[in-house]
Symmetry: C2
Amino acid sequence: MSKTSPLILITNDDGFYAPGIQALTEVAKEFGRVLKIAPDKPQSGMGHAITINNTLRIEKMPNQDLMGAYQCTGTPVDCVKIALDVILEGEKPDLIISGINHGSNASINVIYSGTMSAAMEGYIEGVPSIGFSLLDHAQEADFSAAQSYARQIIKMALEKGEGNFCLNVNVPKLPEEMIRGIKFCRQAHAKWVEEFDKRQDPSGKDYYWLTGHFAPFEEHQEDTDLFALRNGYVSIVPVSYDLTNYTTLEQISAWID
Amino acid sequence: MSKTSPLILITNDDGFYAPGIQALTEVAKEFGRVLKIAPDKPQSGMGHAITINNTLRIEKMPNQDLMGAYQCTGTPVDCVKIALDVILEGEKPDLIISGINHGSNASINVIYSGTMSAAMEGYIEGVPSIGFSLLDHAQEADFSAAQSYARQIIKMALEKGEGNFCLNVNVPKLPEEMIRGIKFCRQAHAKWVEEFDKRQDPSGKDYYWLTGHFAPFEEHQEDTDLFALRNGYVSIVPVSYDLTNYTTLEQISAWID
């Protein structure tokens, strides 16, 4: 592959050895030069966390036919930052991909997701970025359909993508022949309802595990990612780092005369 | 104060003993019953991280004339979740406030901010929420102007707020008499330019500190928070948990015929 072939930076939040990133790396290699950098331990639920009160280390790994492979002690966002600044020394990738996450990042999950925060960080840095997630938490999940759609979406992004963008791609847990195609969607409104699991340690002191169930408010709205996924489609939601709520902005401007 | 006075939940990301949350607690107490829960250590830059691979503990603290005061081993988002589910057992606060943060959360900082993620979590849970930040990192910062504006904004939110909202309030580092008032704004476009500081540990292995400088792209746009702050105003940006980029959604729909 020539030196001018696309440069793709790949990361995730499940850690360097997760099957999901290995599946996505195989696909990425078909398109160009691939630099892999992933957390040295699982970082699910890390949101857009960065490491500012502690040091960061990166470790060069056997490169697996890649341009380079690294483990990093930080969060997914740290991985992107250190790859762009330290490893690539300012050379901009053509695309940043994150995943394939073991589990959904559709709807409100995007807010808590390390996978999507890595993609968002790439986007903020001016690099088109895509996060991929499969709606299956299992370590032994079948990534073949997700790989096939990742291939199709990376190809579209490299060939048709204009300007900067960040995509949240979710793949239903279905065999490939059952998937009905791709839908571009908006993020469905939903929340997690917490159910903290209270336990006692051996010395009798209370501690808690965060658990909960997902409460969708919009699964029947046809333009949402939840609707697409429940109807057998791969969902693509473009995301923004401008968090301004323009509707509320108009409303609250009346608070002051 | 009667049992039906407003219930305000207060948290932060700088930790239970930070001067900023003490300053904000003093203001909150003027409005009703206050429940304080804050991380037991600094959690700046934690973004919307949640604790799913570890246990959580809460410790009841001397209550300082509050309805209750707790330290939590988790992130700012964990604090909000455990307060709503475990401590309040489902009783909904009238308002969640977070801060006063030691340092700016204007512009792109909102994405990395533990302070704002706590407020965002409240908003997702259906509780109007406000994050307050002062543009001064110092431990000994003067919070008096920020307190005065927090008082004014909490009053407006309780009296004039309708439905659900989440506000990102930033206060310039100025004496109160120099502050020109409040501006409702949108989030200015900006990024952090990383400058990793490379060092060697005593055994000769490299490690890094994340540092960088703030690169504003829109400080001269009059409707942005950066413009307001640089011109001596308190900025209020309402934020959204719907990350959908509707402009990009329209553009990329053309990728598939």
